[in-house]
Every structure is written in structure tokens, then in C-alpha cells.
């Protein structure tokens, strides 16, 4: 017990306090100036925009994948099921590396997509692609158990009342899944906001265009501008905590319906 607390303090609390302390040394005006430079604002916009799009894509495709994995049997189902965790297991640097090479003009996918005007490497789209990859498991893994425990009788009840499949899905199944999808969405979103490793490879890191907030922090550090980096980090931290709170609320909401 004592050991737990000491270790926790050493590894988590002290560094954390250090950062906060450092931020407190800044005056509010200085903080505001450092945290809201034009370059920073552009970086936030990309970070949050791309994270949002990626999390939405994950909510959509994650629901689809979870549904297909739970409800249907088809060749390769077990392999896909195991592979869903691949983005968790693969180091982010490797993910960024291989995705940027896949979507580059001479890559396996890029050779078809780039002529169509779809540039996946060194663009904002690339950021979205990398974030979608990184967040893929969240929605699938939060949704799978919920889908498993879904009462088939409820769907049958809807059918006996005359509802077709689409109607049943929209009216009966979707509302039950919604809290889990939202939780998965929020988890994917939170992860995407902090993501760094995969992005540096695929985005090209052009200021104002494809530069994400975590990368800007690293840039500030390389310029030995610690205070600038700390100001940006505090903004990201606050966002992470707000999301964490939202996720906890969502989970409470989900368990209320789960009974």
C-alpha cells in the first residue's frame, strides 16, 4: 500500500506537479499569448478537426466491424477479430511509417489513389488516416460485449410488431448501442488528440498546414522554448481531462442501461 503510493507519486504525481508548477510561473497574459499564437491555433484546429473526423470514421466503421464480427460467421472472422487489436500492439512509429508508404504516390494504395486526387501522404488527409488507424480498436472493443449481450428476443419482438430490419436497427438496436459507441468514440478521440508517433511520419509537419499540436510542442523544445512548450502542453492536458471526465460520465450512463 505504502509502496503503491510512493511509486505512484514518484512516477506520476511529481512530474505532473512539475509541469503544473512550471505553468503557474507564467502570468495569465503570457500563457494566453504563448498558447494562442497563430501557429498554435492552426495546430489545434488540425489536431481537433482531424481527431474528430477520425473518431467519427471509427464510430461508423467500428460499429460495422463489431456488428459483422459478432453477428455473422464468415471465413477469416477469427483472424480479423484478433487483428483488431493490431493498432494497439504496433508501435506508433511503425504505423506512421507504413501508412505513409502505403499512401505515397508509389505506394500500394497511393498508386491508385493519387491519380484520383486522393493524396494520403503529407496532407491533412494523411493525419486523419493515421488517427483512424490508431483509434480503430476502441469502438470495436467497447461495442463487442454490448452486441454480444444484446437480447435477441427484443429484435424478435420488434419483428412480431411488424418492424423490418432497418426499422428495428434504427428504433431498437441503435439506441441500445449508442452509449457504447459514444464511449468508444470518446476514447478514440482522446487517443487521437495526444497521438504523435504515427503523425510525424505521414503528415510532413508543415507549419499552419499539417502540423499537429504535439509536434509543435516538440518544435518548441528543439528551440529550447520550454515555457512555450509548457503552455501548449497545459492546453492539451486540460482537453484530455475534460474528455476523461466525459468518458467516465458516459460509462456511468452505459451501466445504467445495462442493468
Amino acid at each position: 500500500m505504502g509502496f503503491t503510493l510512493v511509486y505512484l507519486s514518484a512516477i506520476v504525481l511529481i512530474p505532473f506537479a512539475g509541469l503544473v508548477l512550471r505553468a503557474c510561473e507564467l502570468s495569465w497574459a503570457d500563457f494566453w499569448r504563448l498558447a494562442t499564437t497563430d501557429r498554435a491555433l492552426a495546430a489545434y484546429r488540425l489536431t481537433f478537426g482531424a481527431s474528430l473526423i477520425a473518431a467519427l470514421a471509427n464510430a461508423l466503421f467500428g460499429t460495422l466491424v463489431a456488428w459483422v464480427l459478432v453477428r455473422y460467421s464468415f471465413p477469416g472472422r477469427r483472424i480479423i477479430d484478433a487483428m483488431v487489436d493490431f493498432p494497439f500492439a504496433l508501435p506508433t512509429a511503425v504505423a506512421g511509417l507504413t501508412l505513409s508508404s502505403l499512401f505515397a504516390a508509389n505506394g500500394w494504395l497511393g498508386q491508385f489513389l493519387v491519380p484520383l486526387g486522393i493524396k494520403g501522404a503529407f496532407t491533412q488527409l494523411g493525419v486523419v488516416i493515421a488517427l483512424t488507424f490508431v483509434g480503430l480498436p476502441f469502438v470495436v472493443r467497447t461495442l463487442q460485449p454490448v452486441l454480444h449481450n444484446l437480447d435477441r428476443e427484443v429484435e424478435e419482438a420488434a419483428a412480431t410488431l411488424g418492424a423490418g430490419r432497418l426499422r428495428t436497427f434504427v428504433g431498437v438496436i441503435a439506441p441500445t448501442l449508442l452509449p457504447a459507441v459514444l464511449t468508444g468514440f470518446a476514447l478514440a478521440f482522446a487517443r487521437a488528440i495526444g497521438e504523435y508517433g504515427s503523425i510525424v511520419f505521414i503528415s510532413g509537419n508543415l507549419p499552419f498546414k499539417t502540423e499537429i499540436a504535439p509536434y509543435l510542442i516538440v518544435m518548441r523544445l528543439e528551440e529550447y522554448d520550454y515555457t512555450g512548450a509548457v503552455a501548449l502542453a497545459v492546453v492539451l492536458l486540460v482537453c484530455s481531462f475534460l474528455l476523461l471526465g466525459a468518458i467516465n460520465l458516459l460509462e456511468a450512463w452505459t451501466s445504467r442501461f445495462a442493468r
Binding site: 505512484l8 466491424v65 500492439a89 508501435p91 508508404s101 424478435e156 482522446a190 495526444g194 504535439p214 510542442i217
Partner: protein, 297 residues
């Protein structure tokens, strides 16, 4: 022949009429869409790693891996994992034990704190240590006076890795320990076993699979961590480059095949992790099924 065919077709049609199943066309469209998504986002990236790594042949592949700087990176990554994983295993056991077996104030706060590294951007995590131990940091001067290097050296990398991988073991163990309950341990204590004996002979065996799973995840993340390590390592080639950092450096030097060669090792690690995880899940569901049948008899 025609009769059989018609019968099959009829059977198929009738099956599709069940009110709680989608028509086959919709079903296969959904499966197709999900599969293509998984292929593009899971299988292709994986296959691409190995294809690119071997793009210039096996000889170049081996040469890339055998390069002294790459070897140094591999060695450093293994060292970091070898230090940080055991640290987090010990902590994870202690924390999970405290949370699962005792009731105390601030328990949910403790759980939130354990989860904290999950929600912090790796870059911000690295920055925290920089603020603390860096040259401009709070302890920077003191460390320099005593000729201790933390940042841009092994200790910093280990600290950042420990921070990032901190929750994995505890997170896996808490539910398992909560599920086993305290009765078995109390039984052991009444039989005269000491606290340590109870821990070794009763607690540990009952959570061994969850523990193994946590170690595997923790290890995968420890070896693959990029953002946090990148901030504190200083990128000194041959000294403070871990494997992921080495990948980045080779990539920035336009040595794609070399970068992919090192990356392929990390991808193998990921596959290995997935394999163990799948095996553990399979084993768990089998044990669960067996426990259920045993309970019924």
C-alpha cells in the same frame, strides 16, 4: 440435380425470411465493407512493413539490422524494456492488490491516477520529465552539480517509458483480482500460511494469466514507445536512440528500406503480442467453459 438445386435455393430463401436476420445481400455487403476496411487499415499496413523491409533484398535487410547504430538501438530498447517492465509488474501487483482486496478512502482517485498516463499525450509526458530533470528544469542544476545525467540518457528514457506503460499491468490485474475475491486467501491464512506464502501460493497463481497478459501489453508498449522517449532521449545516434527513434532517423535520412527493416522487428513484436493475447483469451474461455461444466455437475 435440378431438383436439389431448387431445393437448396428454396431453403436459402426461406431462411432469409426469418424476421431477425438481414437479407443475404445486405449481410454480405456489410461483411464486404467491414472486411475491406480491415484489409486497408490492418492487413495492408502490416504486409507493407515486410514488403518494404525486403524491397532491396535479404542481404540489405540483414545489413540494415547489423549496422552498429541499429544494433545499439535494439540493445537500448531491450535494456529499457528489461528495466521498466519489471518495475511496472511489481507496482501493478501492489496497486491491484491494494485496490481489489481493501476498501479505503480515495480508492477511485487512485484508480483515476493509475489511468492518467493513458490520457496524457506521450509528448506531454516526455515534457513533464524534461521540466523536472532538464537543464532548465527544477532538478537540472542539482543533477549537473552531481554529474548525473537523466535527460538525454538512459534514466530519462526509462522514466518516460515507465510513466507511459505504468497502467497496463495494474489495469489487467484489478478485474481479475476482484473476481477471485478474498475467500481463498483468507482460507490460506486460517491454515497458518504467512502473508508472503499466501501471496506466492494462492494469489499469484490465480492471476497468472491476467498478469502475463498485462506484461505482454506493457512490454509491447515499452519497446514501441515513441513520443515520450523522443522528447527525453536527445537522439544521440548509437547512444540514446531506441528502435522507434532509429526508424525515424533512417526514414529522415531517406533510407526507407533500412527504416522498414528495423520497423519489421517491431511489427513482429506486435504480431507476437497479438498471438499471445489470442492464445490467452482462448485459454481463458476454455477454462471458463470447463469451470461452468464443473459447476453444473
Amino acid at each position: 440435380m435440378a431438383g436439389t438445386l431448387r431445393k437448396n435455393w428454396r431453403g436459402h430463401r426461406e431462411a432469409s425470411q426469418r424476421g431477425t436476420e438481414e437479407p443475404p445481400l445486405i449481410k454480405w455487403l456489410l461483411i464486404g465493407a467491414a472486411l475491406s476496411f480491415c484489409v486497408v487499415f490492418l492487413l495492408l499496413p502490416l504486409a507493407n512493413v515486410f514488403a518494404q523491409a525486403l524491397a532491396k533484398g535479404w542481404a540489405f535487410y540483414w545489413k540494415s539490422l547489423a549496422h552498429p547504430d541499429s544494433r545499439a538501438a535494439i540493445r537500448l530498447t531491450l535494456t529499457v524494456a528489461a528495466i521498466s517492465v519489471p518495475l511496472n509488474v511489481v507496482f501493478g501487483l501492489a496497486a491491484a492488490w491494494a485496490i481489489a482486496k481493501f476498501q479505503f478512502r480515495g480508492k477511485s482517485l487512485l484508480i483515476t491516477l493509475i489511468d492518467l498516463p493513458f490520457s496524457v499525450s506521450p509528448v506531454v509526458a516526455g515534457l513533464m520529465f524534461l521540466v523536472l530533470f532538464g537543464l532548465q528544469g527544477y532538478l537540472g542544476e542539482w543533477l549537473q552539480d552531481h554529474n548525473l545525467r537523466v535527460i538525454f540518457a538512459l534514466p530519462g528514457i526509462v522514466l518516460a517509458t515507465v510513466f507511459i506503460t505504468f497502467p497496463f499491468v495494474a489495469r489487467e490485474l484489478i478485474p481479475v483480482m476482484e473476481a477471485t475475491g478474498t475467500e481463498q486467501e483468507q482460507a490460506a491464512l486460517t491454515l497458518g500460511a504467512s502473508g508472503w506464502q499466501t501471496f506466492w501460493h494462492v494469489t499469484l497463481p490465480s492471476v497468472k494469466w491476467g498478469l502475463l497478459y498485462g506484461i505482454i501489453l506493457c512490454n509491447a508498449r515499452a519497446m514501441g514507445e515513441f513520443g515520450a522517449v523522443s522528447v527525453v532521449s536527445g537522439h544521440i545516434t548509437g547512444q540514446t536512440d531506441t528502435m522507434p527513434l532509429r526508424v525515424e532517423k533512417l526514414y529522415n535520412e531517406y533510407n526507407a528500406a533500412g527504416a522498414f527493416a528495423v520497423a519489421s522487428l517491431l511489427a513482429l513484436l506486435a504480431l507476437f503480442t497479438l498471438a499471445i493475447k489470442t492464445f490467452l483469451e482462448w485459454r481463458q474461455s476454455r477454462e471458463f467453459a470447463r469451470a461452468r461444466t464443473a459447476g453444473r455437475v
